[in-house]
């Protein structure tokens, strides 16, 4: 199952070559060429990913792990090979990668597993223990910890934000302390674009014996991430944000931690010996993959990792940085537009949130759509961030490997159009 990967040796970054792999990008919306700038929400999938999944399904499909017949062996090989590919994409060992439905399930997995840990276990939580997050978390890295706190009696704390859209670390030592059992935070904010100083947070957390979970949903797709270099204990990301399928996410965990963690969901494949009254459980990663896994989605995700590797994550990051700089520059020149989040490219990614004075974000998004420009509007599943910056919602443009400078310009012109249409400024 080899797929044709884009040949990018000729030019430094052949964005047109990349675009040809994404059929949907040649669509029109409202009579205009689609300008898709909603990549922080989800990304499109190149034909290499679609082809890989289809070839697998048409030639090698079967359920995995439990059969001796040829298709079952081939499907198992394909699925486990996908795990190897995804693992090496983040510098991890094959056995330390668990496939989930999305990053949300990956985070809930850790939260529920901790909640299931008996007293005495290093994962156990109770009254007096603390869970720490930040004020910039996506709901998927906030609500699971709220629920865990409610179930166990532990206290939820969080690191606040500065006016510039960065973590405020002045109280770090107080907020992350000897009572902290786990610190869960995002590598890159999906609303603000802020990239967080992982090293500083890991150092403090490990100094007080807390575990660290990194929500890498917005980082793994955009720049090279190596779990060992980061020094975190758990890292999670989601397939649909890195040109892969929906329905697949990844939890990576340190092998020795995964080995000690109690199971989350019960069911087929995650067991060892099942009696009617009780069971013993398989080692990781199987222990955490109850039921028939996301087989063809894992194949698709591996193809997505291969695709990004072939294009080159460094090149993608540089390309995005240039687009982000162009966008921030352009926005700075338009009166009545305010960026929510860092307004330089330093330690920030391509997600740029903004508001236009006097025009509700919903109307911004809809009016941009009328000229073919797709941005996301709303609270971006990070309602507390909107509250922090006293906006009901924002519009957010987020570029990716297939976006072009002229698309950024189309957005900027679109914003002028929005202002004219709504008579703002």
């Amino acid at each position: 199952m080899t797929s044709t990967l884009p040949d990018l040796t000729a030019t430094p970054y052949d964005v047109e070559g990349v675009r040809r792999d994404f059929a949907i990008l040649s669509r029109e919306v409202n009579g205009r060429p689609l300008v898709y700038l909603d990549n922080a929400s989800s990304t499109h999938k190149p034909r290499q990913v679609l082809d890989a999944e289809r070839a697998f399904l048409e030639q090698h499909y079967s359920n995995v792990h439990r059969g001796v017949h040829t298709l079952s062996q081939e499907a198992t090989d394909g699925y486990e090979q996908a795990r190897t590919t995804v693992a090496s994409f983040i510098g991890a060992r094959h056995d330390d990668v668990v496939f989930t439905k999305n990053v949300t399930e990956a985070i809930n997995l850790v939260a529920y597993s901790m909640g299931n840990a008996p007293a005495g276990s290093q994962f156990h939580l109770g009254a007096g223990d603390e869970i720490c997050v930040t004020e910039m978390e996506h709901h998927s890295n906030l609500v699971p910890w709220q629920l865990l706190a409610q179930r166990t009696g532990a206290t939820l704390r969080w690191l606040p934000l500065t006016d510039e859209g960065r973590l405020d670390l002045t109280e770090l030592d107080a907020v992350v302390n000897e009572r902290t059992k786990i610190l869960a935070f995002t590598h890159q904010s999906n609303l603000l674009g802020t990239i967080n100083p992982v090293d500083v947070l890991v150092r403090r957390a490990h100094a007080v014996g807390a575990l660290v979970l990194l929500d890498a949903a917005q980082s793994v797709p955009h720049f090279p991430v190596d779990v060992t270099a980061l020094g975190v204990d758990f890292l999670a990301f989601t397939g649909h944000k890195l040109v892969g399928p929906t329905g697949v996410g990844v939890l990576w965990g340190r092998g020795e931690l995964l080995a000690e963690m109690p199971p989350f969901m019960g069911g087929g494949s995650m067991i060892e010996v099942v009696e009617m009254a009780s069971s013993t459980y398989a080692p990781p990663p199987e222990r955490f993959e109850a039921g028939t896994p996301v087989i063809s989605q894992a194949i698709g995700l591996a193809a997505a990792c291969d695709y990004l590797s072939a294009v080159g994550l460094d090149k993608i990051a540089a390309h995005e940085a240039a687009l982000t700089a162009r966008l921030l520059d352009g926005l700075r020149r338009i009166d009545g537009v305010r960026v929510i989040g860092p307004d330089t490219t330093e330690m920030r990614g391509s997600a740029v949130s903004f508001v236009i004075d006097g025009v509700h974000p919903h109307d911004v998004g809809q009016t941009l759509d009328e000229v073919g420009v797709a941005v996301r509007v709303g609270h971006h599943c990070a309602a507390p961030v909107c509250r922090r910056y006293a906006v009901p919602a924002t519009a957010r443009a987020s570029s990716y490997l297939y976006n072009t400078p002229s698309e950024i310009d189309a957005l900027l012109e679109g914003i002028e159009h929005v202002k004219r249409f709504w008579g703002a400024a």
Binding site: E28, V29, N30, G31, H360, P361, H362, D363, Q366, T367, D369, E370, V377, G378, H379, A383, C386, P392, A393, F421, W422, G423
Partner: protein, 154 residues
């Protein structure tokens, strides 16, 4: 699946009501005041209702939100003020049905008047909630006012 359409969501009628809302500003007297929020976008509306003898005597409101939520609340006041509660509730039902039609319904101008301008909104599930915010608040307030009046009468 609906293909994107060239017809703008923002009909002139909607823009007019957004720019020059009718009956806006909270007024006395009133029986009941309610406050509704659309959690997905933070839009808010406060609605006051005065009911007399089974009739909607006055509706006043204040709020903030997108053009759709503001304009539809303005249209709502035009449609219900001065009307028998039952008639007004029928209008609300007709508007709700239109909003849930996903672009498949031809609205009746005799019933919905300016409200027909919102037909296109029903193609945008994300905006339907905006269009219904004021209406839902009014229905809630009116139901409470009726219960309240009934209580006082008994």
């Amino acid at each position: 699946m609906t293909e994107g359409s060239n017809e703008s969501l923002y009909q002139e009628i909607i823009l007019d009501h957004y720019r020059n809302p009718h009956h806006k500003g909270l007024r006395d007297p009133f029986d009941i005041e309610v406050h509704h929020v659309n959690p997905t976008c933070g839009d808010e509306v406060t609605v006051r209702v005065k009911v007399v003898d089974g009739q909607v005597q006055d509706v006043s409101y204040d709020g903030q939100g997108c053009s759709i939520s503001q304009a539809s609340t303005s249209v709502m006041t035009d449609l219900v003020i001065g009307r028998k509660i039952d008639d007004a509730m029928e209008k609300a039902e007709a508007f709700l049905t239109l909003m849930q039609s996903r672009g498949t319904l031809e609205p009746d101008e005799d019933v919905l008047e300016d409200g027909i301008a919102f037909a296109g909104v029903s193609r945008y599930p994300a905006r339907v909630k905006c269009a219904l915010l004021g209406w839902m608040a009014w229905k809630d307030a009116t139901a409470q006012a009726v219960a309240h009046t009934a209580e006082e009468a008994s």
